[in-house]
């Protein structure tokens, strides 16, 4: 896989908020079907990096590429809007707080964007919603509203909503952090299913065990740089950098202290 053309590529990404440099020259290549997990302490820039990929948080410097398209290419405003709206259809994103549309039913949450952007018929849209909901195990909730769902169910609908656009890559920003512990597993299972189907995924997570089980490669970020990266067995079992060791030790301790 190493010589494959990267599917998603970040080149020398820099991001500043005023004087604060939150991403310092980060480069990253992700191959088709690869699963990358990004870990690191709070404020290290994980979300900022992830959100740069679909230009939700535009980079100050550097390039983001999806296949042969530069996501953040410089264009006049109007043209850029058209360009980015097209690009984003290929990049699914799942948020920590789900961000379902509360005024729309589960079905409508899933079909809104495909209907508006792909001009599919009502019947096709219904089929799409049913298909995606089956995929996340929520077929019986199609006519519910988000307020009637548990957190885990909401997140699974959010995943179905993103998948309904048939994205080429999926971004997850702490998809399970807002969930009660007993609801985490159902969302993880859906993500694992996606992994088995060779979806290209970039996952920001605080769950080391999950990262280890699902990712091909782990990135450890701290202070706006990628301190260390490698396959999970290497990064978790034999970290090279002092900061990685400290972070992992802290996490292990926190987990050991957590009530069972």
């Amino acid at each position: 896989m190493t010589d494959a053309k990267p599917f998603v590529e970040i080149r020398q990404a820099r991001k500043c908020y005023g004087d604060l440099e939150v991403l310092k020259n980060i480069s990253l290549k992700v191959n088709k079907g690869q699963i990358i997990a990004i870990i690191g302490p709070s404020g290290s820039g994980k979300s900022t990096l992830l959100r740069a990929i679909n230009d939700l948080d535009p980079l100050t410097d550097g390039e983001v590429w999806l296949e042969d398209t530069q996501v953040n290419k410089k264009l006049p405003h109007k043209q850029y809007e058209n360009h980015i709206n097209k690009v984003r259809q290929n990049i699914g994103m799942v948020f920590q707080h789900f961000n379902l549309f509360p005024h729309l039913s589960v079905r409508e949450n899933i079909t809104l964007a495909p209907k508006m952007l792909k001009g599919i018929s009502d019947a096709e849209a219904d089929r799409l919603a049913e298909e995606q909901l089956e995929h996340v195990g929520l077929s019986d909730r199609i006519d519910y509203y988000p307020s009637q769902l548990s957190g885990g169910q909401k997140q699974r609908v959010a995943i179905a909503r993103a998948l309904a656009m048939q994205p080429k890559v999926m971004l997850f920003d702490e998809a399970t952090s807002a969930l009660d512990p007993e609801l985490v597993e159902e969302v993880n299972l859906v993500m694992k299913r996606l992994a088995e189907e060779h979806m290209t995924m970039i996952i920001v997570t605080h769950e080391m065990a999950f990262a280890e089980s699902v990712a091909d490669r782990i990135l450890f970020m701290d202070g706006g740089v990628v301190v260390e990266e490698g396959p999970p067995e290497q990064l978790f079992r034999a970290p090279k950098h002092e900061r990685t060791k400290e972070f992992l030790a802290k996490h292990l301790r926190a987990n050991a202290l957590a009530p069972a």
Binding site: L100, M116, S147, Q148
Partner: protein, 218 residues
């Protein structure tokens, strides 16, 4: 003379007709104030400066001058420059725009209160800014502000009495016509008050139904 309500029934038809006009002007001005309010709110928040500032100035004008004066201006003033609007429509426009300005303030607050994550979710799916506003943000904002908008609708119902001065034979005007024939102001103003009370109940019932309908979707 005392109070003698038996003078009312012979004029029931007139009063009822007045009540219907009150309902008609409240409903049409209400619809105008609702959609106008959304339109003003969008312009005030998102339109380019050359549209935004004139709209804001216009809104400010409507906020700082009496509704009565606005009705006079629209009905008696505009004729002078060749714009002759029938009384009902002049009343509808005056009331509608006046309350649109108040609704706009409320709706703007509602739009700004929508979580940033809703915008992001829409944009991430590939929707444009306009599509995100139209399909995601504004429908939610409007749902959130149904109670204060409802209060404005009740105020609008009561202020609709003002269009009597430009000749619309709504409830107040109708009772005045009856009074001019019978010289019984107490009875007919009481009758008008009773009608307002009933129409108000209907309006509140409708608002309550709407609030219940949308409770699930918030």
């Amino acid at each position: 003379m005392g109070l003698d309500l038996t003078v009312v029934p012979p004029f029931a038809g007139l009063i009822l007709q007045g009540a219907l006009w009150t309902i008609a002007i409240t409903a049409s001005a209400g619809v105008l104030s609702f959609f106008g309010g959304i339109g003003f709110a969008i312009c005030a928040l998102y339109a380019p400066a050359i549209i935004r500032y004139p709209i804001k100035a216009f809104a400010w004008l409507f906020m700082t001058t009496p509704l009565l004066l606005q009705l006079f201006l629209i009905y008696f003033g505009l004729v002078q420059i060749g714009i002759d609007i029938p009384a009902f429509f002049a009343g509808m426009i005056g009331l509608g725009l006046h309350f649109a300005v108040y609704n706009s303030d409320i709706i703007q607050t509602g739009i700004l209160a929508i979580d940033k994550g809703q915008h992001e979710a829409g944009r991430t799916l590939g929707l444009s800014r306009g599509q995100t506003l139209r399909k995601i943000v504004i429908p939610q904002a409007v749902r959130d502000v149904v109670p204060p908008i409802g209060n404005n609708m009740i105020a609008l119902l009561k202020d609709s009495a003002l269009v009597s001065v430009i000749g619309v034979v709504e409830l107040v005007h109708a009772s005045q016509l009856a009074i001019s024939e019978t010289f019984r102001p107490f009875e007919f103003y009481l009758a008008a008050a009773a009608c307002y009370y009933v129409v108000n109940l209907l309006l509140e019932f409708t608002l309550h139904r709407i609030e219940r309908r949308i409770a699930l979707t918030r």
